[in-house]
């Protein structure tokens, strides 16, 4: 059996009395484009922080490419790339300086880091901005730079927390193409995003977390079949997204059915003062 790229067992994180993530068992096969979804506060960021070593789990284990993250932290980190929620950039370096720095931190020699830096800046259309301090970059430019930094060492597993947030449509196409080419070369991508259309288009497999617990995991078709089977078994449909014969559920519909949300909140109607 092939070693999973990412595997967690009983992964739990408690903050005092609150269990932000509880007993999460994830399996991500190598080469998968994996979407990790959940409503706000469901535990997505907490999970991704634990998977990338930013947060210690309260219980459970994490294995990346077969290595235990707790005991082989440095070896694991050498093989992964991360775009975290806050991007973790060094604002007072220029784009060039930052990518050179990151490359060396991941063990690239200076000439290689410099060569890849130039190529990545060109690819991300940031070459014009190479002398500008990162703090002066727009949000979208920072996002592109963070992604460039995450891939400069050629990671085998890439963790992306909302990578397309604030990125313009043109850059978004470029980034998607790059990510798909990485998948084609055998890399694994673990992605969280609130834009379900993007996840649906890119990801072959999806997991959904709600209230800290993993409530669904599998390929899109498996999730769809599960929801349809449940809908068929249920007498009524309270979510307002009934399945009709021949209809193919979108990921948004699947997601809403699984986490129990509805398309529109009745509370919005009460905010009469909102113009």
């Amino acid at each position: 059996m092939e070693t999973p790229a990412v595997a967690t067992s009983g992964l739990t994180r408690r903050f005092g009395q609150l269990a932000a993530v509880q007993d999460v068992d994830l399996q991500v096969a190598p080469g998968q484009f994996f979407g990790f979804l959940g409503p706000n506060g469901a535990g997505k960021s907490t999970t991704i922080k634990m998977l990338t070593g930013l947060l210690a789990p309260s219980a459970g284990s994490i294995r990346i490419l077969g290595l235990d993250l707790m005991t082989h932290g440095v070896e694991v980190k050498r093989q992964i790339g991360v775009v975290p929620e806050g991007m973790a950039l060094f604002g007072r370096l220029t784009g060039t300086e930052y990518l050179n720095f990151v490359g060396q931190m991941y063990g690239l020699d200076r000439p290689t880091a410099a060569k890849r830096t130039g190529e990545l800046l060109e690819f991300m259309q940031l070459a014009d901005q190479r002398k500008k301090l990162i703090t002066d970059y727009s949000h979208g430019m920072q996002k592109k730079l963070a992604l460039a930094a995450a891939v400069i060492h050629g990671p085998r597993v890439l963790f992306l927390d909302e990578p397309f947030e604030g990125v313009d449509a043109v850059a978004s196409v470029t980034l998607k193409a790059m990510l798909q080419s990485m998948i084609a070369r055998g890399a694994t991508i673990f992605l969280t995003s609130h834009v379900l259309e993007i996840v649906e288009r890119l990801c072959s497999h999806v997991a959904i977390i709600d209230h800290g617990r993993l409530v669904a995991q599998g390929s899109l078709d498996e999730l769809r079949q599960g929801v349809e089977a449940r809908a068929a078994a249920a007498a009524g449909d309270a979510s307002g997204t009934a399945v009709t014969a021949g209809e193919r559920l979108t990921l948004e519909q699947i997601f809403l059915r699984i986490v129990g949300g509805t398309a529109a909140s009745p509370a919005a109607a009460e905010l009469s003062w909102l113009s």
Partner: protein, 558 residues
């Protein structure tokens, strides 16, 4: 959906806004003591504040006695002799300690519909929350009381002049900070400043013969013009006004008061010019060049790829971190003035000793300019050494995601600070040589070895403290870094310990009557410090893991 009604929009009153800001500051202060760390910070701030208050009260007593004596004995003009040092302290102390400053950032309120007047008030009020203002206000209170006792009929005038001088100082300090931030944010200005710094160091050499010659002149002939001119400057004007009032010279009094008001207005206008730009949303940025630069012919990719030559032979995390750290510091306005201060200290020593008779203790101190300046240089760097992840802010997360151990991170940072310190020590040595001639060989050797010992001790403690008490630092700002009370006190205690250990070596050498052995004793301490450094460096990996959540949370604060 119910019918939409337009929201009741009214222009917010600036008084209401100021009250809200004051309230939120108070709530933040109250809420900050909910955590143990916050409570410790509060205790530390009260402790530090207490000592500054003691210093201010001592000053108030001195100013009170001085004011009473001068005004009571018909020498009102001499009050200027107290106001000039006060002005210098008020303006120079915050600059010299800008790397340690504890001001809140008022620009965060600009996201709200805050009127310009309210913004100015908030900015000045926030800026006034510092030790120099506390000491200054207490000294002025003492002066007012002393003068009022000496001449009760002038009490309202004395109060008015004291308030005007207070307002002038508050505005001037803010103006200096605002303009320096603006200028230092530009690379060209920093380069000019660096050249000026070097010119200052070498220029001092040419001052020496001039001042030697001047020392033979009689004071009245030399200073008479200056004394007359200073009467029309802000510290001289209150004294001049009081002397005129005591002598019944109404026109002179009126002219002095009007001129003082004009000075206040002038400084306010200069401050306002800068704050208006802030208010409009101008940001400090390297990316605001004067004119677009011509692209060089080489390809962009190649240009982007070119690594800095000086580091070209070094690869790996440690040199990468050291290089990154030095780049950060080179772009930091807050580092420039503290780094200049040790050399200025030497200059002050030198001029202080010029007027001293042979055997005068100021003259004796001047021979120790090199060790004193070097020690001060290390003291200036302790703010960074003891909070070395603070400048990385949210970027510190990267060290947890990258395949590096924290011992490598700290080694890189310590290497950068060590290089910076070495450079500063060389400059101080040159300045000491130019001012006083080369220090004795044993003293030079003892200073250098002592610096190695002290630096290693500071790095050992600083690395651990950086992990346990991190605080975000905004390098683009002079001051306004938020409170670091506990770590400042801990740092102070550590400096005391280091000084005591070095003192033991000095004492032994002194008791043996062989001061030339001092470098040897300090070398033994330096070796022990190196062992301690290696041990503490090893501890950082474990401590970094155990404190990562608190550290990331603290450094990611907006």
């Amino acid at each position: 959906m119910a019918e939409l009604e337009p929201p009741p929009l009214t222009a917010p009153r600036w008084g209401t806004q100021l009250a809200a800001i004051a309230r939120v500051r108070w709530q933040l202060t109250v809420n900050s003591v909910r955590t143990t760390r916050g409570a410790l910070e509060m205790v530390a701030r009260i402790w530090v504040g207490f000592w500054f208050a003691v210093m201010g009260l001592a000053g108030a007593f001195g100013f009170g006695v001085g004011g009473w004596y001068f005004l009571g004995h018909g020498r009102g003009e001499w009050i200027a002799a107290m106001l000039w040092p006060l002005l210098l302290f008020w303006q120079v102390f915050p600059l010299a300690t800008s790397a340690f400053a504890e001001h809140a950032d008022s620009s965060q309120f600009l996201r709200y519909p805050l009127g310009y007047r309210a913004y100015v008030v908030v900015r000045v009020a926030f800026g006034a929350l510092d030790a120099a203002t506390l000491v200054g206000i207490l000294c002025l209170l003492g002066l007012t009381a002393g003068c009022a006792i000496a001449a009760p009929r002038l009490a309202p005038l004395i109060l008015l002049l004291a308030i005007a001088f207070l307002v002038f100082n508050l505005l001037l300090a803010q103006m200096i900070f605002a303009w320096l931030e603006h200028w230092l944010a530009r690379r060209r200005t920093r380069e000019i400043l660096s050249v000026l710094f070097l010119l200052l160091v070498f220029g001092v050499n040419f001052l020496r013969p001039l001042t030697r010659g001047a020392a033979h002149l009689t004071v009245p002939a030399q200073w008479a013009g200056l004394v007359a001119a200073q009467r029309w400057l802000p510290p001289g004007l209150p004294a001049h006004a009081l002397a005129a009032a005591a002598a019944g010279q109404a026109w002179t009094l009126a002219a002095a008061v009007v001129l003082l008001a004009a000075w206040v207005g002038g400084v306010l206008a200069l401050l306002s010019r800068r704050l208006r730009a802030d208010y409009r949303g101008e940001t400090l940025s390297e990316g605001v060049p004067g004119a677009p630069r011509r692209e060089k012919k080489q390809s962009r990719a190649a240009a982007a790829a070119a690594p800095a030559r000086v580091w070209s032979g070094l690869s790996g995390p440690v040199p990468a971190i050291a290089q990154k750290e030095l780049r950060y510091l080179a772009r930091s306005p807050m580092m420039y003035f503290p780094l200049v201060m040790p050399v200025l200290l030497l200059v002050f020593f030198r001029f202080g000793s010029l007027n001293g008779a042979p055997g005068h203790h100021a003259a004796n101190l001047a021979g120790f300019g090199f060790p004193v300046g070097a020690a001060y240089a290390l003291l200036v760097l302790t703010n960074l050494i003891f909070n070395c992840l603070g400048t990385d802010a949210v970027g510190a997360q990267f060290y947890y995601m990258a395949p590096v151990r924290f011992r490598q991170v700290f080694l890189g940072k310590n290497l950068a600070y060590g290089l910076l310190l070495a450079g500063e020590v060389v400059v101080i040595y040159l300045a000491a040589c130019l001012l006083d001639g080369p220090p004795a060989v044993w003293l030079t050797a003892a200073t250098l070895v002592g610096m190695v010992f002290a630096a290693l001790c500071n790095f050992s403690c600083g690395n651990l403290l950086s992990l346990s008490m991190p605080k975000k630092i905004d390098l683009s700002r002079l001051g306004r870094q938020g409170s670091r009370g506990v770590s400042s006190l801990v740092a102070l205690a550590i400096q005391g310990g280091v000084a005591a250990l070095a003192g033991i070596a000095v004492l032994i050498a002194y008791l043996l009557g062989r001061l030339w052995l001092l470098p040897l004793f300090l070398a033994v301490e330096a070796v022990l410090a190196l062992v301690a450094y290696r041990v503490t460096l090893g501890l950082t990996d474990r401590l970094a893991l155990s404190s990562r959540e608190a550290l990331i949370e603290e450094l990611s604060k907006g």
